[in-house]
């Protein structure tokens, strides 16, 4: 569900202002479109640099690197930067020009979460900017012909963090020697390289130009590269070749693998080729900071990449901040540590429960606590499984009146007050007001509190018999006890379920909360054994019409509302069950239509009808959304927006707010 895909590159007419209010960076109206249709009607779209400030006349280096340059260990900054570095328009974004230096302290709860640094420092071939428009980042320019032929232009003189050139060879090496190597990728190249079962054609045009082409459009290609967890389609060939069977002696490779206690060269290669997890300090990178600490450790240090390709308007090579100190700490200590002023920037791992503790320490320990809304369709949603295996429950879950009745029986105001201090937004599991596709009616229809109507609806279905406790009985005589399964680690959702238990009791429906290990829950859902699941709502709650609406169509098996239908769609009918509910069928048809059009008007129409169908049918029961995420920011840390949306998808947490532009004052 976490794939953000953005359909088409036709000039984005809809701009989402992610920054909500106040002092946030904003340049409404003056934004020059980065993606301009060229040569009218040929379908060629060029994603080039934005209307950026001119190249600075000279470049400045971080004081931290000065001694290395002086001693000759590092070339001067002008030689390290590409010929055309990316000049960031700080003024245009309403940001300050920073100063060098400082170490940023933050926390993760386990070493595996170091991959979040790759998300937060968001350096990709192409990236979303703060307004969710695609921009080149590592690449200098992207040309897309009818979404079929993609030509990438690299920056001249761009280098990996170890100083080796970054060239077309790194793309070729990935495509030919990694993606298409049977031992390294037993499953073959990533699905993104296939359109209609046909593999991409890859060409190296010259040192700085590569091309991917298909016969049919592949509108998902570029958005996939801009994801928080992207497909990395290039790899540092110079570093990895000595570990690849095509380039190294088999005997030597076997020796290396044995030394690492691994069985084959492929296992060793896959372990070393680590562009995401930050587990291999030797791996060259193009990111702003590079990990230097080898696990296991309790503090992981990331140092500035002296070859990073972004500069500020005055020619200072970014990032401003010298190092990141990422400490391992138990999640329960995040708030006390923030309270004691032991972090400079921290969001993930904190929740509104911690707000009092965080506020209490602000003055004494010199930090601020921003509250960013979290983008979610609904913070807590219920998914009646339309494809559950029990025939009685299946019939009931498929009855629209039943789902509406359950929704009407929930008093969302109480949940809002209990969980979000009344600050949340009550209603269905649908897109948030920040999305251009939002419609107030989709949030409120079938989502008001009306227990009388709910009772009437349930009676109308024929569930009139009750037992001594007042619980309704199923047609086959069993109690109407809905087992709601929930991931055991989501404490909040379980609290909400306890409230809902009370609400539903009033209409004669019994709820049993069954916390599960997340993995077990997923497997049960895939197998169709769940009756109802509670979990978070839409992942991408601020979509534009150009992002694919797969979360609201029966297209994915991981959706708890229709796992078997989703599986059927995903496996093209090999497994699962065909959709047989008219409105769900309509949703799937609309989704297919969306995949085939590149017209924004048609896409918008499709999105809106799908959202309306979802609200009308209550395929998932939403409660409240717009939960606030506390973001602890040191008073010395600047350029962090005070108000912004917090989400993994599509904003990569701090990613689109560009951490390399954050800086410390004394």
């Amino acid at each position: 569900m976490k794939k953000t895909l953005r359909r088409g590159l036709a000039s984005a007419t809809i701009v989402i202002a992610l920054c909500l209010a106040g002092t946030s960076a904003r340049t409404a109206g003056t934004e020059a479109s980065g993606s301009e249709p060229a040569g009218g009607g040929t379908g060629l779209v060029i994603i080039g640099p934005d209307a950026t400030p001119p190249l600075p006349p000279s470049y400045q280096d971080a004081p931290m690197l000065a001694p290395l340059v002086e001693s000759g260990k590092l070339p001067p900054v002008a030689e390290r930067l590409p010929k055309t570095p990316l000049v960031v328009d700080l003024k245009g974004k309403g940001r300050e020009i920073g100063r060098y230096g400082g170490d940023l302290r933050s926390l993760v709860s386990k070493a595996r979460d170091l991959r979040l640094i790759t998300v937060n420092t968001y350096t990709r071939l192409v990236v979303y900017d703060e307004k969710l428009k695609l921009r080149p980042d590592i690449l200098e320019k992207v040309e897309a012909q009818d979404d079929r032929i993609f030509t990438f232009t690299l920056r001249e003189g761009h280098r990996w963090s170890d100083g080796e050139p970054f060239t077309a060879e790194d793309f070729r090496f990935y495509f030919e020697d990694i993606a298409n190597n049977k031992e390294l990728s037993p499953a073959g190249p990533e699905p993104i390289f296939y359109v209609d079962g046909k593999l991409a054609r890859f060409e190296v045009l010259d040192e700085r130009h590569v091309r991917y082409s298909w016969d049919k459009p592949n509108p998902l290609f570029l958005p996939t590269l801009a994801q928080p967890r992207p497909v990395f389609i290039c790899a540092p060939a110079h570093y990895l070749k000595p570990f690849h069977s095509r380039y190294a002696q088999p005997a030597k490779l076997a020796e290396l693998a044995a030394k690492a206690k691994l069985r084959s060269w492929a296992a060793l290669f896959n372990r070393l080729n680590d562009p995401y997890d930050n587990a291999n300090p030797d791996m060259p990178t193009l990111n702003a900071w590079k990990i230097v600490t080898r696990a296991p450790a309790n503090r992981f240090i990331f140092e500035r990449n002296p070859y990073f390709h972004r500069v500020d308007p005055e020619g200072r090579q970014l990032p401003y901040i010298d190092r990141l100190f990422i400490d391992l700490a138990t999640a329960s200590l995040f708030a006390p540590k923030a309270n004691a002023g032991e972090v400079d920037l921290l969001a993930r791992g904190l929740s509104m429960y911690d707000a009092p503790v965080l506020k209490e320490g602000e003055a004494e320990h010199h930090y601020r606590t921003f509250l960013w809304p979290i983008a979610r369709g609904s913070s807590y949603a219920l998914y009646p499984n339309l494809t559950t295996e029990d025939p009685v429950w299946r019939a009931l879950n498929r009855d629209q009146r039943f789902r509406v009745a359950l929704s009407l029986a929930i008093d969302r105001r109480i949940i809002n007050n209990a969980m979000m201090f009344g600050l949340g937004l009550e209603g269905n599991n649908t897109v948030m007001p920040e999305s251009p596709l939002d419609d107030e009616a989709n949030r409120t229809v079938n989502a008001t509190y009306n227990p009388d109507l709910a009772n009437n609806l349930l009676d109308g279905i024929g569930l009139t018999a009750r037992n001594a406790e007042g619980v309704r009985l199923l047609p086959d005589g069993r109690e109407l006890e809905i087992v709601v399964e929930v991931a055991g680690d989501s404490r909040d959702t379980i609290d909400v379920l306890q409230l809902i238990t009370e609400f539903w009791r009033d209409v004669g429906v019994k709820l049993f909360i069954k916390p599960q290990e997340p993995g077990v829950l997923r497997n049960r859902s895939y197998a169709g054994r769940t009756v109802m699941v509670a979990g978070p709502g839409l992942d991408n709650a601020i979509p534009t019409a150009e992002m694919p609406p797969y979360e609201i169509a029966p297209a994915l098996g991981e959706n708890y509302a229709w796992p078997l239908w989703g599986e059927y769609e995903e496996t093209r009918g090999k497994h699962g069950e065909a959709v047989d509910l008219p409105d769900a069928k309509r949703l799937l048809d609309l989704y297919h239509q969306w995949l085939e059009t590149s017209d924004v008007g048609a896409q918008t129409r499709i999105w809106k009808e799908m959202l309306r169908l979802n609200a009308k049918n209550v395929f998932s029961i939403g409660t409240v959304t717009r939960e606030l995420q506390p973001v602890v920011v040191s008073n010395r840390l600047h350029n962090v927006p005070e108000k912004a949306i917090f989400a993994f998808e599509p904003t990569s947490y701090f990613g689109v707010y560009r951490m390399e532009e954050f800086f410390f004052t004394e």
């Binding site: 990533e190 296992a267 503090r299 290990e517 993995g519 991981e558």
Partner: protein, 342 residues
Amino acid sequence: MALLRYLLRRLVTMVLTLAAISALVFFIIKLPPGDYLTNQIAELAAEGDQSSLAKAQFLRHQFGLDLPVWQQYLVWVGLMPGPNGWSGLLQGNWGWSFEYNQPVNAVVGQALLLTLVVNLAAVIFVHIVAIPIAIYSAVRQYSIGDYLVTFIGYIGLATPSFLLALVLLYYLNRWFGISIGGLMDPAYADQAWSVEKMHSIASHLIVPTVVIGLASTAAMIRRMRANLLDELQKQYVVTARAKGLSEGRLLLKYPFRMSLNPFIADVGNILPHLVSGSVLVSLVLNLPTVGPILLQALRVQDQYLAGFILMFVAILTVVGMLISDLALAALDPRIRFAGRAA
């Protein structure tokens, strides 16, 4: 000669016990459905991460997770050749941790040392505090002081350790500026050993030592006191007193030594406790010890890591029991004679 035969018999039972434990441990770890990689694959799939998915499949075969459980067990122990040949516990290969993507010894090695430091500090703390108090409250039974220390001891026993830990952390940070959690100030984490670093570690040891120690202190005071009271009633004490032995000398020379017996028997429990004790407190206090690693390994079914730690603790228990039996026999002639009579 008798002792040698006794030793031999014990060793054989030890091996059998360990074999049984290893089977039990492995099968219990494998009881929940799925394994580390299936869980991982589900998680990755949810994140739309296709390439890691292929990598996970690759690992699955590499580590023989596609074999039946009993075969996996034999491979792990080293009684059967696995995908990597003969390399199990018996061959000195402790296995691979999926969670850390490293050999188990690399994961556990560093943590073991710190675990020993923390728990040893706690054990020493317990003895230093508990023994004098116990002697005092036994000798001055039913005095105000006795009631007072007993009362404090009960509070220590009854307070949830994790709560106490959080309270102490907060106030030590507030009053003395000691950083929250961990075993040293993060600033020293990557530095070489120095006086400041030692000092930082020492100051961070206060909370864990007190918190881990407090509960066992109370228990120890009570047991020691009861033992001493038993001894103090005995006739040899009266005799010694009648012969004019000074009170202090009398106390330490005879009843005190007698009352230590149960603690020597306890060595068998203390040894594994040094490694696996204080899981909850370590978790709350963010200590880089074995406890949190074990917990996480069990949660994500990192089977070889969890299996190794549990086996290690089992070995320590068995060895500890042997040592305490031998030590008891050496220290207390009555036990030796009793054995011979039977």
